[in-house]
């Protein structure tokens, strides 16, 4: 059995809300509010949810771009939850991220060559000529010609920019990459190329991915394991095929039933249409009890008072819902 590369235990990340001249704290945005899961080596773990779900914050907190408010992050056996910046530097080589918007994730004033050299310079890897060769090699891997070295980001198409971003993430030879909606700003045909490419890279370099997305059809195509988040909490998670075949949580069912599909075949695979009313509540002021109760068509009285626990329904399949107890 493959061990877990990443273990997340009761992770919390709150962002303080301040008011007044003296910036006194008046509350918290509970972006991530007690999330636990494992990512096994070599697998693609997908985190899905809508805005305010906390999926991006979870990914960034695991990478220690934020300091967790509470909880543990164990990466490759080492606990990194409370490490200081200097101690984290060595981890920067093994965990990386690809951002959603390729335009803002590349410095417009830097050429591709400099963007790719930067990680090597920061970590003082190799001599200048060795670095140059490494950059050329990476360009080959991301399937861009050598003439791209001296171009600026604004001279590249969306797909090409994203390849450079992926190249930057790969050049340090990481083990773990967080992909935050890497293709949502790309067209369908470009997306297909990039996703296939990302899958090949995973096989070739034995990478572990955390794939964050709101596109459920895409998630089905790339992940082995899915976690569904709502307002800072994980409400359901399990192996991809199982979760899609028989989703248990009403929110998961609603999400899956809302996917626009392109064939009758897929239509039959969707759960029955369960339209949910209302808006997503403000993460600064989540509803009491179960977070989803204000919009749940099956709400019971207990849902308004008690937050449901995460239960292991069967091996590796978890749900947190009072309907399933």
């Amino acid at each position: 059995m493959t061990e877990s590369l990443v273990e997340v235990r009761n992770l919390k990340k709150y962002f303080p809300i301040t008011a007044g001249i003296l910036r006194r704290k008046v509350g918290d945005v509970k972006a991530v509010d007690g999330v636990s899961f494992n990512i096994r080596t070599g697998e693609t773990f997908a985190l899905v949810g809508e805005s305010g779900s906390g999926k991006t914050t979870t990914g960034k907190t695991i990478l220690r771009l934020y300091r967790p408010t509470d909880g543990k992050i164990i990466f490759d056996g080492e606990e990194i939850s409370q490490l200081k910046d200097r101690q984290l530097k060595k981890f920067r080589r093994v965990m990386q991220m690809v951002y959603q918007d390729p335009i803002s994730s590349l410095n417009p004033r830097k050429r591709v060559k400099d963007i790719l050299l930067e990680p090597l310079i920061i970590h003082k890897i190799g001599t200048p000529s060795e670095r140059y060769s490494a950059v050329k090699k990476i360009l080959e891997i991301v399937q861009l010609g050598e003439d791209y070295l001296y171009r600026y980001p604004h001279e590249l198409s969306g797909g090409e920019k994203q390849r450079v971003a992926i190249g930057r993430a790969l050049i340090l030879n990481p083990k773990f990459i967080v992909l935050d909606e890497p293709t949502s700003s790309l067209d369908v045909s470009v997306q297909a190329k990039i996703i296939h490419f990302i899958k090949e890279l995973q096989k070739k370099f034995k990478l572990t991915y955390l794939f964050i997305s709101h596109n459920l059809s895409l998630v089905k195509n790339i992940s082995n394991y899915v976690g569904v988040m709502y307002l800072g909490k994980l409400i359901e998670m399990g192996p991809t095929n199982e979760l899609y075949r028989k989703p248990l949580h009403p929110y998961t069912q609603a999400l899956l039933s809302a996917i626009p599909v392109v064939s009758d075949e897929e239509e039959k695979m969707k759960p029955r249409k369960t339209p949910i009313k209302g808006e997503i509540p403000n993460p600064a002021n989540p509803p009491p009890g179960c977070r989803f109760q204000t919009r749940c068509p099956f709400k019971k009285e207990i849902c308004e008072k008690v937050t449901p626990e995460m239960i292991e329904v069967r091996k590796t399949y978890f749900v947190s819902c009072h309907l399933i107890s």
């Binding site: 067209d187 997306q191 297909a192 059809s217 195509n221 996917i259 599909v261």
Partner: protein, 335 residues
């Protein structure tokens, strides 16, 4: 297919060519677009970024910035009359009243300094009127009551609470703003609504609500719709006929069911294959890049990327051919 009352179509776009003059050259963005919408029909114009679908929509409704845009050839016939040849006064009477538009981004499409009620009132009072005299502007009073009732009724139909009238757009969520946009587009009972990427800026569950609302409203008001979208799944759910665009041309069109059952143009097939599906299939996509409109490929603009390209594809643009009932395609493979 929907049954139309009369056989004459509501909107007909014929051989539309639109060019953009830029410092670096002339971009030949639209290369002969054709489109027909019947009364009470829902049609989608589907294509990827840069294919010209937004330009087509803007040309229809008359919001194209001319210059740098230039309408070189073609007609846009609305109820038989050519919109491109109308004078400003006539165009104004149609735009906003008979043809309305739901804009793409609910976050930016509403004026932040006016309340929702004020903006809706503006639409009811002034849509279609090009010149409004001062006296007319300040008059108000008599029709106020009717207008308010109309607004309240519309809000109910888009399932917004009536207190939204006094709220500012910044106080509303994305979904609610989108509903306001829908209300603004439908309140004057138009004949045709153009919906630009409805719901793409919203979350999946909210988008679902909005699309269902749109579908329901349009069916009950018997309006025609032109959906502009890049999402084939959304087009499949919302429309009865789909037009697929590539690089400034409509390359295939068919009733929805037929299009998904027997897609025929290599681009359509490639596009459909590239869509991630719940069945776990997702092909590698289409090789190559979208062409540069300043120097587009000759003949069929797709030929550089087409696996089935023949010598004639480079020489001559394939005119539309009907391959089965109501299924048209622009491709030399089908003659």
């Amino acid at each position: 297919m929907s049954k139309s009352h009369k056989d004459s179509p509501l909107l007909q776009v014929k051989d539309l060519h639109v060019y953009f003059d830029t410092i670096e050259g002339t971009a030949k963005v639209l290369n002969g677009v054709f489109l027909t919408i019947k009364k009470s029909e829902a049609v989608s114009l589907v294509g990827e970024t840069g294919c010209g679908k937004s330009v087509t929509a803007k040309t229809i409704i008359g919001l194209l910035p001319v210059p740098p845009a230039r309408i070189v050839k073609g007609e846009v016939l609305f109820e038989g009359k050519n919109l491109l040849k109308m004078n400003e006064d006539e165009l104004w009477k149609i735009r906003g009243r008979k043809i309305s538009m739901i804009f793409q981004n609910p976050m930016t499409a509403l004026n932040p300094i006016f309340t929702v009620g004020a903006q809706l009132k503006d639409v009811v009072k002034w849509a279609g009127k090009r010149k409004v005299g001062l006296r007319e502007y300040f008059r108000g009073g008599t029709e106020e009551k009717e207008i308010e009732e109309k607004i309240l009724k519309m809000l109910e139909q888009v399932r917004l609470p009536s207190d939204v009238i006094d709220k500012y757009p910044s106080q509303l969520s994305g979904g609610m703003r989108q509903r306001v946009l829908i209300a603004m587009a439908l309140i004057n009972n138009p004949e045709l609504v153009i919906a630009d990427e409805p719901g793409t800026a919203l979350d999946v569950t909210i988008q679902d609500q909005i699309l269902n609302l749109l579908k329901e409203r349009i069916q009950s008001m018997k309006i025609s719709v032109l959906y502009i979208t890049h999402n084939l799944g959304v087009a499949r759910e919302l429309s009865q006929r789909i037009y697929v665009m590539y690089a400034g041309n409509v390359i295939e069109t068919a009733p929805t069911k037929k299009l998904f059952k027997s897609p025929s143009h290599p681009y359509t097939i490639g596009l459909l294959e590239a869509v991630p599906k719940l069945t776990g299939e997702m092909e590698k996509g289409i090789p190559g890049r979208v062409p540069d409109y300043k120097n587009p490929p000759t003949g069929c603009r797709f030929h550089p990327r087409c696996n089935f390209a023949m010598p004639i594809c480079k020489k001559k643009f394939p005119e539309p051919v009907e391959i089965e009932t109501e299924h048209w395609i622009c491709c030399h493979l089908f003659k």
